[in-house]
Symmetry: C2
Subunit: 138 residues, 2 copies
C-alpha cells in the first residue's frame, strides 16, 4: 500500500508543502484561514514517512494535536521526542522547533496557529539528516 | 457494544458534562486550558446518541472540528444541519447555537474556543425534544 493512500484519513490531503520549507512529501489542508474574528488559523498536515518541516518559529504560538501515526518533535537544544495519536504539543511564540514523521510511519496533526494576527510561521534552515536521525528508536 | 466504549477514540473521555449544560451523556476532555500565551482553549467532546448541549454562545467564538460520527448543529432561527467526520464549523462570537449527536450515532468533535481571554461559554436554555427533533432525517 502506498502510504499516501490512507483511506481512513478524515480530512482531504490539500496542497503539497513547498520544498523550501519541508523535506520529503507533506500535504497541507487549511481548515480555517486566518480571520480577525477568530485570531487563529487551523490546518491539517500529513507527513509521509521521513518527511519533516524546516526549523521554524510561530510569532503567535502553535498547538499541535496528533491525529494519526507517529512523529518527531524537537525544540532547539532539547532532545527529539516521539509523539503519537492523541498527543498535544503547545509551542510558545518564537520557540525554534521542527516536527515530522518517524522513518517508518506516516504522521498527521492538526496545527492550531494561535494569535495568527501576528503571523503564521517564520521559516529557517532545513533539518539535516544528522539532526533528523539524532534519536535512534522509534 | 456500548457506544461509550469506543476503542478507536484517540483522546481519553475526560469528565462528564454537567447536567445543567447538557442533555444526555457527554464527555469533555480539556486538551489545552486557557492561557494568555495562546488565547484559546481546546477540548475534545464526545456525545452519546441523542446527547446535546444547551443553547449557548461563546464570547470569543468557537471552531468545531468533527472527529467521529454524526451530529446536529443549529444556530437560532436557522434549520438544523447534519455534520460529520472531517467537517469544520466556525461559530462567530455571541451567536446562539447548540450541537449534539444524532439519535442513532455517537458524535465527537474538537472544540477550539478562540479568544478565550473573553470567556469560554455562556449557557442558556435546554434544547427541547421538539427542537432536537426538528430535522427528521439523519
Amino acid at each position: 500500500m502506498n502510504p499516501s493512500e490512507n483511506q481512513t484519513a478524515i480530512f482531504p490531503k490539500g496542497e503539497k508543502g513547498p520544498a523550501e520549507y519541508f523535506t520529503g512529501t507533506v500535504w497541507i489542508k487549511v481548515l480555517v484561514p486566518h480571520s480577525n474574528t477568530f485570531n487563529c488559523q487551523i490546518a491539517h498536515v500529513q507527513f509521509e514517512p521521513k518527511a519533516r518541516t524546516n526549523w521554524h518559529t510561530h510569532p503567535g504560538g502553535q498547538i499541535l494535536i496528533v491525529t494519526n501515526g507517529k512523529g518527531y518533535y524537537q525544540e532547539k537544544d532539547k532532545p527529539v521526542q516521539i509523539i503519537s495519536n492523541g498527543d498535544v504539543v503547545t509551542i510558545s511564540p518564537d520557540v525554534l522547533h521542527w516536527h515530522g514523521a518517524i522513518p517508518d510511519s506516516e504522521f498527521s496533526h492538526i496545527a492550531v496557529n494561535t494569535n495568527s494576527q501576528k503571523g503564521i510561521a517564520v521559516w529557517l534552515d532545513k533539518v539535516t539528516d544528522e539532526e533528523y536521525s539524532s534519536l535512534k528508536s522509534g
